[in-house]
Amino acid sequence: MKMIQVAFIICFTDINHSLLCIPDVASSSLKQYKAYEIPSQYLSVVARPFLSPHKNSGELFMKSGTAVLEKELPKTDPRVKLIAAKMKKENYKADALIEILHTAQNAYGYLPKEVLSYITQSLHLPPSRVYSTVTFYHFFSLKSKGEHTCLVCTGTACYVKGAQAILNEIERKTGLKAGQVSADNKLGVQVARCIGACGLAPAVVLDDEVQAKATPEEIVKKINAKLETV
C-alpha cells in the first residue's frame, strides 16, 4: 500500500459538470493534474454530502434545532423500559449510541420515529447525529421489516451458488423485491451480505431460522407455510 495519500480536487464548472482533478501519478512531481470529467448523471452522487442527512433528519424530528417528542412514549411499555434501562446502564454516554440503538431495534424490530426522538433527547444529542448514525448502518431500519422476514444471503458464496434464483422465485411468487414489505405488513424480503454459513450456501434466514442449502421452491413453500399460520 502506498503511504502517501494523493489529494484530489473537485471543481464544479457549471451546474451540469464537475471535474475530478487528480495529480498525475505518472509524472515525477505530483504537481501536474489530470482532469477527469464526471458525467452529469452522477452529479447528485458527487454532491450528496451537501444534500442529505440534515434535511431528512429535519423531516423526521427536528423543529427549530431541538428534538421534539411528538408522541409521548408509554412508560409502562416493556420495550421502553428496556431502552431506558440500557441508557441508564451506559450512563447516557453518547458513545453508547450504537449499543442503545441495537437494543431499540431488537425490541421493536425497527426504529420508530418517536423512539428515536426519545433516545435523542435522553442522550442530549443533535437529531442529525442520531439520524446520520441510524442511516449509516444497514442493521438499523426506520421502517417495519414485516411480521415475518425472509432474509436471503447474497454474499459471495451464496451468489456463486444461486442466491439470485431464490430472490427471483420469491419475487415471482410474492411480488416482493429485496427491501420490500408486503402491503399487509405480513412479509418482508431482505438481503444480507453473508451470514457466516457460507459452507452451506445458499443460505436464507426465515424468521431467525437459518435454512441451509436452500432451493427456490423450498423457500417459497416455507414462506407460504409461515403466512398461513397466523
Partner: protein, 553 residues
C-alpha cells in the same frame, strides 16, 4: 484468584480427566453451520439416548465449535476412536450409539465422506481433509466445549498469559512475537510484532487493545468460527497484547450478524473475570485488563481500522486519513493496537512454544498457518487451516475434494471485494502474501471461493463492484462516485451494450479510483475488476465484439 489457585484448578480438572470416569467422549459440532443443519436437536436426542441406555456415567456428550467440514453437518465425533459421523439425522442416532458403543464397530456408511469417497476413513485423522491441515489457531476448535473455561484450561489454556505475566517482561513478549514473524491476518499482512512495538513505544497512561471481528468479506467465516469455537483463545491473546503494550482495556468489535459468536464471547469474558484471568490484578499481579464487546451494525467499511474506532465511539463508521495511525492516536485519541481475531488466536501458541517454533512453519516471508474458509463450487466446503505456502491445488483438490459435480475448475476468488481471482493456470500458486499479490489478488482475511464454468467473470466483477458501491461510506469522491460509475459500466458490459470506449474508460477509472481513494475500501475496490480483466479479458471482449457485430447487421 492467584497463580497457585489456577494451578490447583487445572490440576483438579486434569486428574478428573485422567482418572476419567468417562470412557467415551462424544463431540457434537455446534458451530453455526452445523446448528443450521440441526445439530442442537441431534445433541438433545443423543443425550436422551445415552440416558435411556444408562450410559451417562460412561459417556460424556459435549457441544463443540466448528470441526471443519461444515457442509457435511451435523457432525458427531466419537473419542478416543476419532470416528466422525456426518449428516447425522435424529433417526439414526440409536443405530449409531448401538454399534459404536455396544458393538464397538462403526457404521461405515454413515462416516464422514462415506457418500463421496470410495471408502471412508475409520479414523478421521487419516482423511486427507484433516491430514493435510495443520491446526494452530483452530487447535482446540471442535474438541472443547467453548462455553466452559475449564475445558480450555485443561488444554493449556491461559498458560501463555501465566507465562507472560510471571516469566517475561513486556519487551520479551514483543520480542517473541517479532521473532515468530507472524503477520496480521486481517488482510494487509502488517508484521504484528512491529505493530506491537510501535504502540508500546508511545508513552501514555491510557492505551487500548482492539480485536477486529468485523469480518466483512461476504463469503468468509474464519473469525466467526474462531470466536464461536474457542473464544478464550482470543481473549487470552488480547490480554497478552494488553500486557505487552501496556493497555488495561480492550474492545472486541464483533459483527452483528454473528449472535452466537457474541453470546459465547461475552460468556467467555464473564467466566474469565470470575476466575481472575481478566479484570483487576490478574493472577495476583499488578496487571489489570478488562474487555468489552461492541456489536457491529452491518457496515463493511467498519472493518477498516479508523472506521472501526469511530464506530466504537458511537459515530458513523467513516474512515479518516492516516497518519496519525491508530498506534499513535486511535480510540479517543489514545494509542491503540488493532489486530484481527485470528492474529490474537495465534498469540498464545507463540508464547507457549516460542517465536522460533512458529517462524519455522510456512514460508520465509509468510510464517505460520492461515485459516481459510472454503466455499462455492467445492465438494467439501468448510473451515481449514494450512501452513502458509500450501498450494491452491492442494487446498482445492486434496483437502477440498475437488470441484462439485466433477466440473472443471475455473477460478478461485481470494480477499473478497478487495481481492482478485486466481485462474486455472495458476493452480499451483503458493498461498502466501507475496505470491497472491503477484497474481493481482491478496490474501485478505481468508475467504476462498471456488468457481466453475457456470460463473461468468464479468458478472463476478460486477457483483463485487456492486458490493463496494453499496458499502462505500461516501466520504470521498473517487470512491463514492467512482464505484458507481464503474458499476454502471460493468452492468452495461453484462447487458452486452458496451463499446470498446466503455471498456477503456472503465480501465482508466479503475486506476484513478485506486490511486486517489481515502481508505482501503475505495483503494481496493477496483481489484476484482482489474484481476478479472487481467486473467479473463476475452470474456469482456467477447461481449463488446458481439455488440459491435450486432450493430453491423
Amino acid at each position: 484468584m492467584n497463580r497457585q489457585d489456577l494451578k490447583t484448578i487445572i490440576y483438579a480438572e486434569k486428574t478428573k480427566d485422567e482418572t476419567n470416569k468417562y470412557k467415551h467422549k462424544i463431540c457434537v459440532c455446534c458451530g453455526a453451520g452445523c446448528i443450521s443443519s440441526g445439530s442442537e436437536e441431534v445433541m438433545k436426542k443423543l443425550q436422551e439416548e445415552i440416558n435411556t441406555r444408562g450410559l451417562e456415567n460412561e459417556v460424556e456428550v459435549i457441544p463443540t465449535g466448528c470441526m471443519g467440514p461444515c457442509n457435511q453437518g451435523p457432525l458427531m465425533k466419537f473419542l478416543p476412536e476419532y470416528n466422525i459421523y456426518q449428516k447425522v439425522d435424529c433417526s439414526n442416532i440409536t443405530a449409531i450409539v448401538q454399534s459404536q458403543l455396544i458393538d464397538k464397530k462403526p457404521i461405515e456408511d454413515l462416516l464422514l465422506f462415506a457418500d463421496s469417497r470410495e471408502k471412508p476413513f475409520i479414523n478421521a485423522q487419516e482423511d486427507p481433509f484433516f491430514k493435510k491441515q495443520l491446526k494452530i489457531a483452530l487447535k482446540n476448535c471442535g474438541h472443547i466445549n467453548p462455553e466452559r473455561i475449564e475445558d480450555y484450561l485443561v488444554h493449556n489454556g491461559y498458560q501463555a498469559l501465566d507465562k507472560a505475566l510471571f516469566e517475561m517482561s513486556p519487551e520479551e513478549v514483543i520480542a517473541e512475537v517479532k521473532q515468530s514473524r507472524i503477520r496480521g491476518r486481517g488482510g494487509a499482512g502488517y508484521p504484528t510484532g512491529l505493530k506491537w512495538e510501535t504502540v508500546y513505544k508511545y508513552v501514555n497512561e491510557q492505551k487500548y487493545v482492539i480485536c477486529n471481528g468485523d469480518e466483512g468479506d461476504p463469503g468468509a467465516f474464519m473469525d466467526r468460527s474462531v470466536l464461536e469455537g474457542n473464544p478464550h483463545r482470543v481473549l487470552e491473546g488480547m490480554a497478552i497484547a494488553g500486557y505487552a503494550i501496556g493497555a488495561n482495556k480492550g474492545y472486541a468489535y464483533i459483527r452483528g450478524e454473528y449472535p452466537l459468536a457474541i453470546k459465547r464471547f461475552e460468556l467467555a469474558i464473564k467466566q474469565a473475570k470470575k476466575m481472575g484471568l481478566l479484570g483487576n490484578n490478574i493472577l495476583g499481579t499488578a496487571f489489570s485488563f478488562d474487555v468489552e464487546v461492541r456489536i457491529g451494525a452491518g457496515a463493511f467499511v467498519c472493518g477498516e481500522e479508523t472506521a472501526l474506532i469511530a464506530s466504537i465511539e458511537g459515530k458513523r463508521g467513516t474512515p479518516r486519513p492516516r497518519p496519525p495511525f491508530p498506534a499513535e492516536s486511535g480510540l479517543w485519541g489514545k494509542p491503540t493496537l488493532i489486530n484481527n481475531v485470528e492474529t490474537y488466536a495465534a498469540i498464545s501458541p507463540i508464547i507457549n512454544n516460542g517465536g522460533e517454533w512458529y517462524s519455522e512453519i510456512g514460508t520465509p516471508k509468510s510464517s505460520g498457518t492461515k485459516v481459510f474458509a472454503l466455499a462455492g463450487k467445492i465438494n467439501y466446503a468448510g473451515l481449514i487451516e494450512v501452513p502458509m505456502g500450501t498450494t491452491l491445488r492442494e487446498i482445492i483438490y486434496d483437502i477440498g475434494g475437488g470441484i462439485q459435480g466433477g466440473e472443471e475448475f475455473k477460478a478461485a476468488q481470494t480477499g473478497g471485494p478487495s481481492g482478485g481471482c486466481i485462474p486455472a493456470e495458476h493452480l499451483d500458486v503458493k498461498m502466501d502474501y507475496e505470491s497472491l499479490v503477484s497474481l493481482g489478488s491478496i490474501m485478505g482475511s481468508g475467504g476462498l471461493i471456488v468457481m466453475d464454468k457456470s460463473s461468468d467473470m464479468v458478472d463476478v466483477a460486477r457483483f463485487f463492484m456492486e458490493f463496494c458501491m453499496d458499502e462505500s461510506c461516501g466520504k470521498c469522491v473517487p470512491c463514492r462516485v467512482g464505484t458507481r460509475m464503474m458499476h454502471d459500466l460493468l452492468q452495461k458490459i453484462c447487458d452486452n451494450k458496451a463499446t470498446q470506449i466503455d471498456l477503456d474508460r472503465l480501465e482508466e477509472l479503475a486506476v484513478y479510483v485506486k490511486e486517489t481513494s481515502l481508505c482501503g475500501l475505495g483503494g481496493s475496490a477496483p481489484n476484482p475488476l482489474l484481476s478479472t480483466l487481467r486473467h479473463f479479458r476475452q470474456e469482456y471482449e467477447e461481449r463488446i465484439v458481439n455488440h459491435e457485430l450486432r450493430e453491423l447487421h
